[in-house]
């Protein structure tokens, strides 16, 4: 795939400008690259390295640590079935097994039509709604085998409107209006914030 598009590069620069050091924007920028291509393409990672001022190897080093970053193309929908303790107690293993049978793939694989990648994952913080899963990080609660089949049918038919393609994490972005921005705090500035300046009472802060 490709380097970041001009629009995404502009967005990347806007994100970098929020941080005291550009490298801090690395993970958000990798999400941006993954949103563009559906996975982390090599040239996109090289572009991100240029933008934050580190080497491509350092970008890969960070990217490969985090489970959400896919270094190979995946399906349009990544279905993550939670198999941790709370979900396991309520049938997550059986659900994962059903999913494998139904899709004809093992966890970690993608269907031949490129629609669905299946993963068994660790806890996704919906323990009271077990067994649960996420499709591109959107939740489905208390999932039965029938509900799973329906979900796959809907995904393939393009009927799951609340779920964007893999890579698009949040459809609402933070925007800091220039006239309102306080600006990043330079760690080497040594500047004491105005409101902490010594008060008449002589309070130490």
């Amino acid at each position: 795939m490709a380097r970041l598009t001009p629009e995404n590069e502009a967005l990347a620069r806007e994100i970098i400008a929020r941080y005291p050091r550009p490298r801090s924007a690395l993970i958000p920028l990798l999400h941006l690259a993954q949103e563009q291509d559906g996975y982390l393409a090599t040239d996109a990672m090289e572009h991100v390295a240029e933008l934050v001022g580190c080497s491509p190897a350092q970008v890969l080093g960070t990217a490969s640590f985090y489970e959400m970053f896919k270094l190979e193309p995946v399906g349009r929908y990544v279905v993550n079935i939670c198999t941790d303790i709370a979900c396991m107690l309520l049938g997550a293993d059986e659900l994962l097994h059903h999913a494998e049978e139904q899709l004809g793939i093992r966890a970690g694989q993608t269907t031949a039509d490129g629609a669905i990648t299946l993963e068994g994952v660790t806890c996704i913080a919906a323990c009271t709604e077990a067994p649960c899963l996420q499709v591109n990080y959107r939740y489905r609660y208390r999932v039965t085998p029938e509900a799973f089949d329906q979900l796959c049918e809907d995904l393939r038919a393009g009927r799951a409107g609340d779920i964007p393609p893999h890579g698009t994490l949040a459809r609402v972005r933070q925007h800091i209006p220039a006239e309102r921005a306080a600006g990043p705090a330079d760690p080497s500035s040594g500047v004491q914030p105005a409101w902490m300046a010594e008060r008449p009472s002589g309070e130490a802060v």
Binding site: C127, V172, V205
Partner: protein, 462 residues
């Protein structure tokens, strides 16, 4: 039963469908605490939170006000980092607060930053929580436009940018120094201690306060209603209210805000207004009281109050407020393996005892489950556990930088002590198990666990 009528502090707006919007927040007293705080001196706000005795709600339970006071004087700038990386198995409360009352968190961040003198705040939200990120982004955009965040907040000298930061999937990033590493764009590996507190050296090696989502969600109420009102709720050493998620084999799993230190495990698990008892009228076998890291509790612990010191003394912890209930049908070896597998999968790999030890523990448990266990495996499990956490005691000692490794030891110790016969029954399924035990168990014990049983979750895991 001690079901109290304590007010809802952090979930008071959950009754509204539009609880995440600025309009609803302002209509229900939102941002009034910020106005009040800006009329006080920063030191007075810190004192108010100290007086409230608000214990951190992330897991360690350290008093928030005391933590705020740890920044070395005269060292600037200071940062606030919000830990929204909720991932401990069983834990589900911070995500709920982020999705349903993001302005309450923002107001908490503003008050905390004003009080401590933080020049910038970062809200680190777990990557997998797409809706939480959208709700917080929308709330921040509203709050900037309304003048609550940014330059000269509400016309005062107080200026602060709050930056929403996305995680990307790594449990270990919940450890505060790993969180900071991640926020600096690195692999999320915990930093060597000392310094023990990021308040001394944290983000960019500057003084940094790291607070949990639920902790900060309490701050507006404390400032609005006063420390005295907060401290009037709860027990002597556990004030206010707290969120507990009750999951597993219960009739009505859910997240409940209860008065801290007064309500008992029995209330929470059995009361019809809470989890409603064990489903299908079955009997309780065991429960995890405070997230996957905590040693398990049993029938005899049901009447303990959900109070920090009492639970610590009883040999476990309330941790992240996550109770997982297991009924009499549960295979405890399987449950134990599942919890240990989590820690093996999430070990960052920095410290050898954790990286190797959790992997060994997982593989040994897997082969026992697969009917390939050996009688010597129980001693081997305890030996490996002892190398991660010497003495297998509570509170745990550790040979590692962070507590992740010892967290894998808790379920092993609990399960083997209480349900040894279940391990032995699985091992007896191996036709060669007895033979190996009598035929030089020592040499078998020294051999690494079978390599054919790797952690099989699919995808790639750190």
């Amino acid at each position: 039963m001690a079901i109290t009528d304590a007010p809802k502090i952090v979930t008071s707006r959950f009754q509204y469908d539009d609880s995440h919007t600025l309009a609803r927040y302002e209509a229900t007293g939102g941002y009034q605490a910020l106005r009040k705080a800006l009329g006080m001196s920063p030191t007075a706000v810190v004192e108010e939170v100290k007086a409230a005795s608000l214990l951190g709600r992330g897991g360690a339970g350290f008093p928030a006000g005391v933590k705020w006071g740890f920044c070395p004087p005269g060292v600037w700038p200071r940062y606030l980092v919000v830990n929204g990386d909720e991932s401990e198995p069983g834990t589900y409360k911070d995500r709920m607060l982020m999705e349903r009352d993001p302005h309450q968190i923002i107001e908490g961040v503003l008050i905390a930053s004003y009080a401590v003198g933080c020049s910038q705040a970062f809200l680190y939200v777990r990557g997998e929580m797409a809706l939480a990120q959208e709700r917080i982004a929308a709330a921040l955009n509203e709050a900037y436009d309304a003048g609550y965040v940014g330059r000269n907040i509400l016309g005062s000298e107080f200026s602060l940018d709050i930056v929403l930061h996305w995680g990307a999937g790594a449990y270990i990033v919940g450890e505060e120094t790993a969180l900071i590493e991640s926020l600096e764009g690195h692999r999320g590996m915990p930093r060597l201690k000392p310094p023990y507190f990021p308040a001394a050296k944290g983000l960019y090696l500057q003084p940094t306060i790291v607070n949990n989502i639920e902790t900060l969600s309490n701050i507006p109420w404390i400032v609005a209603n006063g420390a005295e009102a907060f401290a009037a709720l709860g027990a002597e050493t556990s004030k206010g209210t707290r969120l507990f998620a009750v999951s597993g084999h219960v009739a009505n799993p859910g997240v409940f805000e209860v008065e801290y230190g007064v309500t008992t495990f029995r209330d929470l698990i059995y009361a019809p207004v809470y989890a409603g008892g064990i489903r299908g009228g079955r009997k309780l076998k065991a429960f995890i009281p405070g997230g996957a890291s905590s040693p398990w509790f049993f029938e005899e612990h049901l009447d303990l109050p959900l109070e920090k010191v009492t639970v610590d003394r009883a040999g476990s912890m309330l941790g992240s407020g996550a109770i997982v209930v297991m009924d009499e049908t549960t295979d405890m070896v399987r449950a134990c393996h599942r919890v240990v597998r989590f820690f093996a999968s999430e070990s960052c790999g920095k410290c050898t005892p954790c990286r190797e030890g959790t992997t060994w523990l997982e593989r040994i448990l897997k082969r026992i489950l697969d009917g390939q266990g050996r009688m010597s495996d129980l001693d081997l499990l305890l030996d490996v556990a002892d190398n991660i956490s010497p003495g297998i005691a509570w509170p745990p000692k550790q040979t590692t930088i962070c507590p992740l490794g010892p967290s894998a030891v808790s379920p092993i110790a609990s399960a083997i002590r209480r349900f040894r016969h279940e391990f032995e029954a699985h091992i007896a399924r191996n036709p060669n198990a007895a033979l190996e035990a009598s035929d030089g168990g020592a040499s078998t014990a020294a051999r690494p666990a079978a390599v054919e049983t790797a952690v099989s979750l699919g995808g790639h895991h750190g």
